[in-house]
Symmetry: C2
Subunit: 232 residues, 2 copies
């Protein structure tokens, strides 16, 4: 349970909490596997790509540019160094298409932010590529409800401690809402702040986590973002 | 002239103000031109690469990952679609090498931050890729003198206004130190804050600007970072 009367700042994760994101990456993965189909079968291509993504996180971090470089390196491996210039170009274009994808808000996201912004300070806390994430927030049309956009290189306890310090509040006054157990829930609970988990239809394999064993202190699970209005 | 007794926060640009950066990019550009030498002469290759960089800024922003994707797209153009997989791989490796380059501090940078941090709140304000810039600050060994790292997607007036608001100070209490007229000096002076320009040996063509016509109000030019100690 969450002690609601303490809450001053509500922080929303962005991708797959406010709008669709992972679905677009899945579509791009499919396109990549099709492009590689004359070298290798799709499930094997996907496995090589996923391994490349994890391997390159310390070097590239998160976001679409990293993902494009991962696809290129995976294609070099899959094609055993036979990848054509046309394939290199197609992979670069998959990335540009992904960067320019329209933002599809989840049902109820805008109304929820609108209502909650009348009573609470609302911010967005997201991970990944700075320009990419800022652009998505601007293009989402939600900026008018937000008091701050925080883009972190990693959503870990250290990053949240710094954010809460900068917000000049106590951990118990902070509520994080997100779809990733690993990035939005566990580090926030670990420092005594509050977290609401809203699972999304698609979650990146790297962010998957088991929410069933999380103790209920400072924690709740909801099905839809609009349920926050009733709760708060 | 700068009214020094007002200053509370000194903000340093990172690349080419605290440490060498552009020199490494120049070296990588040379390596790229060598790689392309069997298609086209180096000056022409460089021009195509520079045009590609500027064209892609709205899509990719700044930083090494963007630069690698620019090199790949430039190579596709230079080779007229004949680029080999080996060349794609070599370009990706040029990027990884650049990401892992050791940080070479400018002479006097550490001592200057050390001394000034006893009297002022010192922060770093930089532009570009979030993970990349944070990693450079951590690897520089300068983090112990810093109270905040601000990575902006663009160093414009809007970004500085937000930063000064978050620092909870007045513009006249803020001093920015940097090597780019366009990013470190003009937007800062435009909002009534102070700026010190320290030209560096190498400046990215995109950041070049004429400092000779800047009025002296709130502004100074120094030759070396260590001169700040005497001044402040």
């Amino acid at each position: 349970m969450i002690n609601l009367k303490n809450i001053k700042v509500i922080s929303f994760d962005a991708d797959d909490t406010l709008w669709q994101n992972e679905k677009l990456f899945r579509k791009t993965e499919c396109d990549f596997c099709k492009l590689m189909a004359h070298y290798i079968e799709p499930t094997k291509a996907l496995k090589i790509l996923w391994n490349m993504e994890v391997k390159n996180i310390p070097c590239y971090g998160y976001g679409i540019k990293a993902f494009v470089l991962d696809m290129l390196e995976a294609a070099l491996k899959i094609s055993k160094g036979k990848m054509t210039a046309a394939e290199t170009k197609q992979i670069i274009n998959l990335g540009k298409k992904l960067i320019k994808s329209p933002i599809v808000l989840f049902e109820g996201a805008e109304n929820t932010l609108k209502k909650l912004s009348k009573k609470y300070k609302i911010i967005v806390t997201t991970k990944g590529d700075l320009l990419e994430q800022e652009n998505k927030v601007y293009r989402s049309g939600l900026i008018k409800y937000l008091r701050h956009i925080e883009v972190m290189s990693e959503k870990n306890k250290t990053s949240y401690v710094r954010l809460i310090k900068e917000l000049n509040i106590k951990p118990k006054e902070f509520l994080m809402v997100g779809n990733s157990v690993k990035s939005d829930i566990l580090p926030v609970l670990a420092l005594g702040a509050n977290a609401v988990f809203i699972p999304s239809q698609f979650t990146w394999f790297y962010e998957d986590g088991d929410a069933s064993k999380i103790p209920s202190k400072n924690f709740m699970k909801l099905e839809k973002i609009s349920q926050l209005i009733k709760m708060l």
